[in-house]
Amino acid sequence: MAERTVKLCSLKEAIDQIPDGSRIILGGFSIYQRPMAAVHELIRAGKKNLTIIGSTNTIELDMLVGAGCVSRVETSYVGLEKFGLAKNFRRAMQAGKIEIEYYSEMLAWDRFRADREGMEFWTVDFLGGSDILTYNDKIVPFKSPISGKQLYAVPAAKADFALIHAYAGDKYGNIQHQEKVLMPQTIDFDIARGCDNTIVTVERLLKDEEVAAGNQRTIIPAFKTRAVSHVPYGSHPTPTLGVTKMAEACFRSYAQAAESEGAFNAYLEKYVFGTNSFEEYMELVRSEFSEKLEV
């Protein structure tokens, strides 16, 4: 009898499957549950000319921009929320190095909903007068065939890859969420359902009987997952709800490093290129920062 495919692999093996120039969605929302281990791996692998598509983007995008991996961004927000502005992104934008396509926050999410429904666009009615429309020729105005009302077709995100950090999963790629979820988790459900190549890092690796016990918490079924890697603390310094807290001191040290190109390059050399895996990175930050990460 043929064996069932095991999708569990090292993060390096998973990220190696992503070609330069890919369109990528990084899961999570704002400063919450971002796939930071995957971001480190993209940087270590020296990926180039990536397009990052998001609803709100923070450290995961800023780090990739600072490392020179990104040529294009489609999003509503790039900043570090309470940790300040995203300075790598700001420098790159002000130097004209990044192509930008703005969507507002829920509009950006609508693009994932279009993919989820297998539609080439999502319809909205609220963009009249905004500069989102002025500077984005991918959004196409049309009249409602029913009422004649002015509507706008917003293109689906059409990502080549989605990278998500999740609560738990098994070796076949069944991904489960934590007991309680919020928007930074539920956006991942829409992202994963709308993408053919979803790579997931998980906090916990589940046994078969554990998957069965929580089968209503499976939000990405095995057949939708391309690869799964077991990476505890994989969202660090952003939190994973119910598992880890925001690593405040580490996050602040990132924001400080991002203030200048020189300091940021030193940060990358030390924490990303200076470590071979996220596990090594975690050992390093735990030796430097005493903050308790577990919820």
């Binding site: 309470k82 934008m93 507002s104 926050e105 007068g129 928007m183």
Partner: protein, 270 residues
């Protein structure tokens, strides 16, 4: 003065809230931004709820309804972390769209901010200069576009009243006001009323029935010259503009003893 500018804005804003409405507030960070975008709105909504609007629904961070404020020992500084998740409330919205639908008109009013606001009521939170290589890159449109388009009305909360903030024309229209007046706005097909009250440390702006901006009141202690000097567009005739009223004794008591006894909302600068 018997009260602070923050308390004056809080009470004035509370008076504009009607019973039965649904108010939506995000969580801003940084002292001045947090004070104007989150703390004053929360205090004002609480004051309305405890006086004339018992049926007001307060949506904290846009996702947790009517939280138990007595359990909140300090204002949270992150929207989706454990402390707000664990805060007792009537409802939590865990996805988008969720329990309430912005696009159905469920939100009566919201609060937003930006770096430029113009006399047509447009708000910019995206960039200064050319969008492809801006002089100053800012965070982006975020939810401002949705606020200005869908919410019943919008409160624009501006912690700094300076010439470079209140301008003739914003560099990027993230939130759409009244280009071409109320008629112009109607032609754009926007469902919400748009920006209605603009609170600054110096004054309150509003828009009349035709969508024209006017100074609704000037805060105590601020001169008309000072206001003109710090605004980048013509304010028109200010001779009849009243002073922003102070809260009543009872309102002040509720703010200080019931809503904000620890000073976590309105006293972060004092």
């Amino acid at each position: 003065m018997r009260c602070s500018i923050e308390e004056i804005i809080c009470a004035d804003l509370a008076h504009t809230i009607k019973d039965g409405e649904v108010g939506f507030t995000g969580l801003a960070t940084g002292k001045a931004a947090a004070l104007y975008i989150t703390n004053i709105p929360v205090a004002a909504m609480r004051l309305a709820q405890l006086t004339h609007a018992p049926n007001l629904t307060i949506s904290l961070c846009g996702w947790t309804h009517n939280p138990d404020w007595s359990k909140l020992k300090s204002m949270p500084d992150a929207e989706f972390e454990q402390d707000i998740l664990d805060l007792p409330s009537e409802a939590q919205m865990i996805g988008y769209p969720g329990l309430w639908s912005h696009r159905r008109g469920d939100i009566s009013f919201g609060f937003s901010s930006g770096v430029q606001f113009d006399k047509d009521g447009n708000l910019n939170s995206v960039c200064i200069g050319d969008i492809n290589a801006p002089k100053v890159q800012l965070p982006g449109p975020i939810l401002v576009t949705e606020h200005f388009a869908w919410f019943g009305r919008e409160y624009v909360m501006m912690p700094h009243h300076e010439k470079r903030v209140f301008v003739e024309k914003v560099d990027y229209v993230a939130g759409v006001g009244y280009p071409g007046g109320v008629e112009g706005r109607k032609k754009l097909g926007l469902a919400g009323e748009g920006p209605k009250y603009i609170y600054t440390p110096k004054c309150v702006f509003s828009f009349d029935d035709e969508g024209k901006l006017f100074v609704r009141s000037i805060h105590p202690g601020i001169t008309k010259e000072e206001l003109i000097e710090s605004t980048g567009f013509d304010l028109g005739d200010l001779s009849e503009v009243p002073v922003t009223p102070e809260p009543t004794d009872e309102e002040l008591r509720i703010i200080r003893e019931v809503i904000d006894p620890e000073g976590m909302l309105l006293k972060i600068f004092h």
